[in-house]
């Protein structure tokens, strides 16, 4: 027999988020057992509700003015004010005030589990200071309005206004959002954002199904797809372009749902739908386009450096055997591609050369004698097949020739071909396989030393005694034209290269670090 105390124990566990599955099953039986049990349950829940109502209302400041349809400040979602409005019995003097309250944009419900504790910090009422809804993955030229920017790369619940540039956000459940200035968003949580004005591209994987972008005109619920959304600040019109999958356009007032599928578009304005203007390519930047744009800016600035001998941007030409040197007057010519094939580099739209056969290489020439050289490149090594694996090696083994290669363990090594002994100091990490890595070799014949940097960190240092000027001459990228007497004759690279720069001077560690920052594949890319 179930006593009153048993029932209260059960109701308490439910209220405090401590109920087991058995408890829940039992509740069903209890509630069906008769009106007395249901009455006890109703009385308990009325108490639970009243305490929440009174204490939440008491804990929140009363609004000084009727809530408006304008944007709530970060951390003060509409529901809090709404509760106060009703709980404290204010704001109800006129129908107009209630209309404002009722028509406030409904805050999206936060996904919660049965345990209040596990989810309490995610409730819109109390965003924790360290709550992170999304991370800044990448950006180019981005500037935010004062007080409306992220905390570093972290986007918690709040109001953000991008005044310049393009950014790429990744939300905690996997949705990607690319925002182009000028744009303003209000992040509620990992699955809900309001687009106040501007345009976004959203790519939502299955884990982010239900990702919702609300606008003044409608709620856009992503069902695992890719779409572009634009809000015109003046008219309030929202234009949706679904590139793939399906987006459900929901009228927040009526609850009416309009499914829009891949290739289709829709405009929502003043509670009705209309044809959207024609889609224009480039209206909604892709995540990859940000990195490419950033790199193009870097390339433009780098090419202005008068100390550059060559900058090979690895841009595919109509004559695919030409490796263009974008620097004129540096004394180095275009390179020639033999075997290596064009593929995609660090970002979509960025070309790279793929080296995956023993005979693949690109030939470049670094003529003349030099006291100082810096050779820097972005490389993605897929596999290490040989004792030595060339990134850039002078042909043969003539004195003054330069080598830059990986050993079997993935450590970068090389230097200048000199007579006499040299000392290598291994200080850094090896090159990880399968990800883009920046490798820079800084050589000084004057100081008789070389530093190799991997992702901006010093990885190896070499010192030698004899004085030989640097004479790289003809070099192979991704391979080596062997000296006939050498025992490790095959040094073919297995991977990709998408940038190569040669300076006639030594670069400082800080300068190398800046190259890494400028060319990093994305902001979340790890140097480790």
């Amino acid at each position: 027999m179930t006593t009153a105390a048993d029932l209260e124990g059960l109701f308490n566990r439910l209220a405090d988020g401590l109920a087991s599955e058995d408890d829940e099953q039992r509740l069903g039986a209890v509630l069906r057992s008769g009106p007395a049990s249901r009455r006890a349950y109703r009385e308990f829940m009325a108490l639970h509700s009243a305490l929440h109502w009174d204490y939440v209302a008491a804990a929140l400041p009363e609004p000084t003015a009727p809530p408006s349809l304008s944007h709530p400040p970060p951390g003060r979602p509409p529901r809090a004010t709404w509760l106060v409005a009703f709980g404290a019995g204010v704001l109800l003097a006129t129908a107009a005030a209630v209309i404002l309250v009722l028509l406030r944009p409904a805050p999206p419900s936060t996904e919660r589990t049965g345990s209040e504790q596990s989810t309490a910090p995610a409730t819109p009422d109390a965003p924790r200071a360290d709550a992170v809804a999304a991370l800044l993955v990448d950006g180019v030229g981005s500037e935010f309005a004062p007080g409306r920017g992220p905390n570093g790369v972290r986007f918690g619940p709040g109001d953000y206004e991008l005044v310049k540039g393009v950014i790429h956000l990744r939300f905690a459940q996997g949705a990607d959002m690319v925002l182009a200035a000028p744009a303003r968003i209000e992040v509620t949580d990992a699955q809900h954002t309001r687009l106040v004005s501007g345009k976004v591209r959203v790519v939502a994987p299955p884990t982010a199904k239900g990702f919702t972008v609300a606008t003044r005109a409608a709620d856009y619920v992503d069902l695992g797809t890719e779409f572009g959304l634009r809000v015109d600040a003046a008219s309030g019109a929202s234009d949706l372009y679904v590139f793939d999958g399906q987006v459900n356009v929901t009228d927040p007032q009526s609850g009416a749902v309009l499914p829009v599928t891949g290739g289709k578009s829709s405009r929502a304005i003043d509670g009705r739908s209309a044809p959207a203007p024609p889609f224009r390519e480039g209206d909604f930047p892709t995540p990859g386009s940000i990195g490419l744009k950033r790199w193009e800016e870097y390339e433009r600035q780098t090419r202005a450096d008068r100390t550059l001998l060559a900058f090979y941007p690895f841009r595919r030409q109509p004559d695919e055997s030409v490796l263009v040197n974008a620097v004129e007057g540096g004394g180095m010519a275009d390179g020639r591609i033999a075997g290596a094939r064009w593929t995609t580099g660090r970002w979509p739209g960025k070309d790279a050369l793929l080296f995956d056969r023993d005979t693949d290489f690109a030939q470049v020439a670094i003529p003349g004698e030099h006291q100082e050289l810096t050779i820097a490149t972005w490389v993605k090594v897929e596999r290490i097949d040989f004792v030595l694996n060339a990134i850039l090696n002078s042909d043969g083994a003539e004195p003054g020739g330069v080598h830059l290669q990986l050993n079997r363990q993935g450590f970068v090594r090389g230097g200048v071909i000199v007579e006499g002994p040299f000392q290598d100091t291994l200080v850094g990490k090896s090159v990880p396989l399968g990800s883009w890595v920046h490798v820079a070799s800084v050589i000084s014949a004057r100081a008789r030393s070389q530093q190799i940097y991997v992702n901006g960190a010093l990885a190896r240092e070499r010192r030698w005694q004899s004085g030989v000027p640097l004479k790289p001459g003809q070099c192979r990228v991704g391979n080596w034209l062997p000296d006939p007497t050498d025992k490790f004759r095959i040094r073919a690279l297995r991977g990709q290269i998408d940038e190569l720069a040669v300076w006639g001077r030594v670069l400082s560690a800080e300068e190398v670090g800046r190259l890494v920052e400028a060319g990093r594949p994305g902001l979340l890319w790890s140097k480790e």
Binding site: A4, E8, G9, N12, D16, G17, L18, A19, E21, Q25, L27, G28, L31, R38, Y41, R42, E43, F44, M45, A46, L47, H48, S49, A50, L51, H52, W53, D54, Y55, V56, A59, L60, R79, A80, W82, F86, L92, A95, V98, I99, L102, L103, A106, S109, T110, E111, R112, G114, E116, Q117, S118, A120, P121, T123, D125, A126, P252, Q253, S254, G255
Partner: protein, 172 residues
């Protein structure tokens, strides 16, 4: 949208009862807030269909019932197993008949809260403050959530008893 002052007054008056009913299905007060807001929007949409000659609460609670069920379904919540359509309708019908007594109990609660010892009032305040939970409280004082819940159970029991006494009901 032509909405009468009477409708405005009715929807305002019924907020707590609607919340209480929704809470009996979703259990988490903050989640009940969300469902209540959704319900309010629907009620607003349906305002023109409301017959002012009929009682408001039974009409409104029906929408709360539908919104709560839809919410549980969207959230794939376990409660769907407990609250089928029949049971939900039974709870809604019974709740709608208790409008007067609901308000009397609410007023009694206010008096009973005043009678609580201050440490118990503090405990209730911390449990029901925004984002308050037994787990968070247990962490703060270094005990188990169950121990906190047990203390709350005793306080809630005292409050329920006090309300009954206030209303002159027989204690259980």
């Amino acid at each position: 949208m032509d909405v009468s002052a009477e409708f405005v007054a009715q929807i305002t008056r019924s907020q707590r009862q609607l919340h209480s009913f929704i809470l009996s299905m979703v259990w988490n007060p903050a989640e009940a807030d969300d469902v209540l807001q959704e319900t309010n929007l629907v009620l607003w949409e349906k305002a023109a269909e409301f017959d002012t000659d009929r009682p408001f609460l039974p009409w409104a609670i029906r929408f709360a019932q539908l919104q709560a069920l839809a919410w549980l379904k969207r959230r794939r919540r376990q409660q769907r197993v407990v609250f089928d359509d029949d049971l939900t309708r039974l709870l809604a019908d019974e709740a709608a008949r208790e409008e007067v007594v609901f308000e009397e109990r609410r007023q009694a609660l206010a008096a009973c809260l005043q009678k609580l010892p201050s440490d118990q009032r503090d405990l209730i305040a911390r449990r029901y403050e925004p984002a308050g939970s037994v787990n968070a409280m247990a962490e703060v004082v270094g005990t188990t959530p169950k121990a906190v819940s047990d203390r709350l159970r005793r306080i809630r029991h005292a409050l329920l008893q006090c309300i009954r006494r206030q209303l002159g009901e027989a204690t259980a």
